[in-house]
Symmetry: C2
Subunit: 432 residues, 2 copies
């Protein structure tokens, strides 16, 4: 029996999306879906939810929960990863509150920045453990990583384990849809080309029947930017650097030194920058889950429509050899010529018989490569820190973060890192 293992299956909504899609994928009939999570209660909820969907859509699939990760992984062909180490409490709260004492504000903190760095530092060791289990139990399996920070985690897996890994996000799929919707433009039939790094990939080309749509997009965006809206940071980046970027304004606000600036507090309201957005979302998600749990977990009539997630489609392509193209996160093996080779880049990839082939994207416009490099700098240093367990490397990753280094002195950055080490405690391995 072929097998898909889902690590972090306690994220019930996400498990529904990805495994729900798999249940609707004929090529995966007869598969086992092995669920694993360190939270038995959430694991059980996902089990029940998936059983409801399985009974409705695909009785051929076996849904099994495991409390032993190795057994969950045994002979898996595909491993989907959606863990979140340390969760909202205590970890996310720490990632936000301690920097706040130094005057360093954040919005999402799941990619780069001081929050993204420490999120990587507590997650990479767990991934390396999973990789060790996989090397023993399913060495040939594909590891589909959905956990953020995408570039650092995927880079660590690709460079320091033997596990075939692809990093998957959902910003590429919705980039132009959301943009066109916000600008009241017709999206059908558009041709797009996107490349860069995760959460900062660039809409390099956007056309319809060969006509460049950027002039019209920029005209409407300039108009829309005269009134407050939810995507002002990205419109500002497009205005100043010429291209639209894949991940949201609240994310990108903290990837650059331009937006969250103590000396320019007015930018927060001018550009509608939602400080502490991710903690707010966590609280809301927890509240919502309480309300909707029953309707998801114990609902025999639970329905599902195939989502925009890449996961099921990649597995389908690998099973059927029907090629599927998607925006994947891979090592920059010359794919983007003016970005470092150790960087993880987000480029078009093709999945087919048991393999993923990344496509050459060539050279980014220089200003876009430069913006990507500022984030790659801290990402590569974060991976080095996680691998070497040196505090000095963590300090350097933080001092190389564009937002952190713009706002704080080196002394404050180091002191903040030490406070974060102390507060995160055993959620982090020992650093020297």
């Amino acid at each position: 029996m072929k097998k898909i293992t889902f690590i972090g299956a306690g994220s019930t909504i996400f498990a529904k999306n990805v495994l729900g899609d798999c249940l609707l994928t004929e090529a995966l009939n007869g598969f086992e879906f092995a669920l694993y999570d360190i939270d038995p209660k959430r694991l059980q909820e996902s089990q029940l939810m998936l059983e409801n969907l399985r009974d409705r859509y695909n009785p051929s699939v076996a849904i099994n929960s495991y409390d032993d990760r190795k057994l969950a992984l045994q002979n898996a062909g595909y491993v989907i990863n959606a863990i979140q180490v340390g969760g909202y409490k205590p970890s996310t709260v720490i990632d936000f509150e301690i920097p706040k004492r130094y005057g360093l504000r954040q919005t999402i903190a799941d990619t780069v920045g001081i929050g993204g760095i420490f999120r990587s530092l507590r997650t990479i060791p767990v991934l390396f453990d999973i990789a060790k289990d996989m090397e023993e139990m399913c060495p040939d399996a594909w590891f589909l990583n959905y956990t953020n920070p995408m570039a650092t985690l995927t880079g660590a897996m690709l460079r320091y384990t033997n596990i075939k890994t692809i990093g998957l996000c959902h910003s590429v799929q919705v980039c132009t849809k959301d943009l066109f919707k916000a600008l009241g433009m017709e999206h059908d039939g558009i041709e797009e080309r996107i490349a860069g790094i995760n959460h900062m990939a660039w809409l390099l080309e956007v056309k319809k029947d060969g006509t460049d749509l950027y002039p019209e997009i920029k005209r409407r965006a300039k108009e829309k930017q005269k009134t407050k809206h939810h995507d002002m940071v990205r419109f500002e980046l497009m205005d100043k650097f010429g291209y639209y970027v894949t991940e949201s304004s609240e994310h990108n606000a903290e990837y650059h030194p331009y937006f969250i600036k103590r000396n320019y507090p007015e930018l927060i309201s001018e550009l509608q920058i939602p400080l502490d957005e991710y903690p707010r979302r966590c609280v809301k998600q927890i509240e919502n889950w309480e309300k909707m749990r029953d309707d998801i977990v114990n609902n025999k009539n639970l329905t599902h429509e195939r989502s925009k997630e890449y996961g099921s489609r990649i597995i389908e392509a690998m099973e059927t050899n029907e090629p599927f193209t998607f925006g994947g996160n891979v090592l920059n093996t010359g794919l983007i010529t003016n970005l470092p080779s150790k960087a993880v880049v987000e480029v078009t990839c093709v999945a087919d018989r048991k393999k993923i082939t990344p496509c050459f994207a060539g050279e980014l416009p220089e200003q876009l490569a430069a913006l990507n490099r500022t984030n790659i700098n801290t990402q590569l240093m974060t991976i080095e820190a996680a691998v070497t367990r040196k505090k000095e490397a963590v300090y350097q990753a933080a001092m190389l973060d564009p937002h952190t280094s713009a706002e704080l002195s080196m002394k404050d950055i180091i002191s903040m890192c030490d406070d974060l080490f102390a507060a995160h405690g055993d959620w982090l391995p020992e650093y020297k």
Copy 2:
């Protein structure tokens, strides 16, 4: 008669250094030294000075001043460039005073930063004109560039003209000498390896008889850092990022977001950062020149000892085929594997029969490559701006500068650039 042409020969002291060295170089006997400068008075002073040296040291050499640059270049084998477009007044004063209105302070402003950007923008067009003349009058000549900003000017010549170009500085030669002197350590017999970008190249290895000297260097540096001294920024960078950097503390203070920070004014005195240092030096140099002019220009007994400049030694190596190794600025043709290929890097080069061969330096430690990338970002964008003559590209170069973007908002950066365009007037070509 073989010929060396010196463009910007009105810098009498520098002309004395480089051409004085050439007069002491036997392999260059019988050469013509062709002098050219847009300032006839300073040109004449250099002519007189060099005639005094020539009469004393090498009567075989012809010293001729030209008021026609093409004739000066005709059939030259080597062209030494030491121009400074716009001089102290008006240009350097503008480069410092206008940013000051926005609260953006600088120290030297001749490499990156808003001052370095505008210095490049006014100098690159002049270099392209020189290159056009050279393509007509001496297409096979070697162009030895001493003018700053080194990486942008050398990069522009290498990427946008057909002229064989090498960028030359003097920080590599003195890097360890000065460091050891400051730390009271014996310099004789040390083995060193330096690579990076101009003014931010790294002392990657420093040994004696195979013993790594860094531990002792760092021990003494930590001690010395307890009291104020002139090199505190570099010692701070070494302490935080692990390696000593080639160019001075006053230079490096403005290449990073760590040191000149409105929110941390105490760093200026703590780290002895000499704001407005370069204008101060210009004023002093002008005063000194008045005092020493006569002793240099009209002194029949003027003496000269070969300086540490690379110029005469490179020409000697090319004439004699006796290899000479030096720190040269060249395009990064895979020389430093984790820096962009369009970057100009400073690596060991070998000069011999009519050619310069850059040496492979491999991978920089990640934190050092990251710091270099932050400066390469603004350098590459500055070259693009100079070539395209687009204001948008100038704004992007400034917004990508680590110090400028840490301190100012995008709006202020753009407004500052517009003020600089207005103030520099005709010293800049037209930008759209």
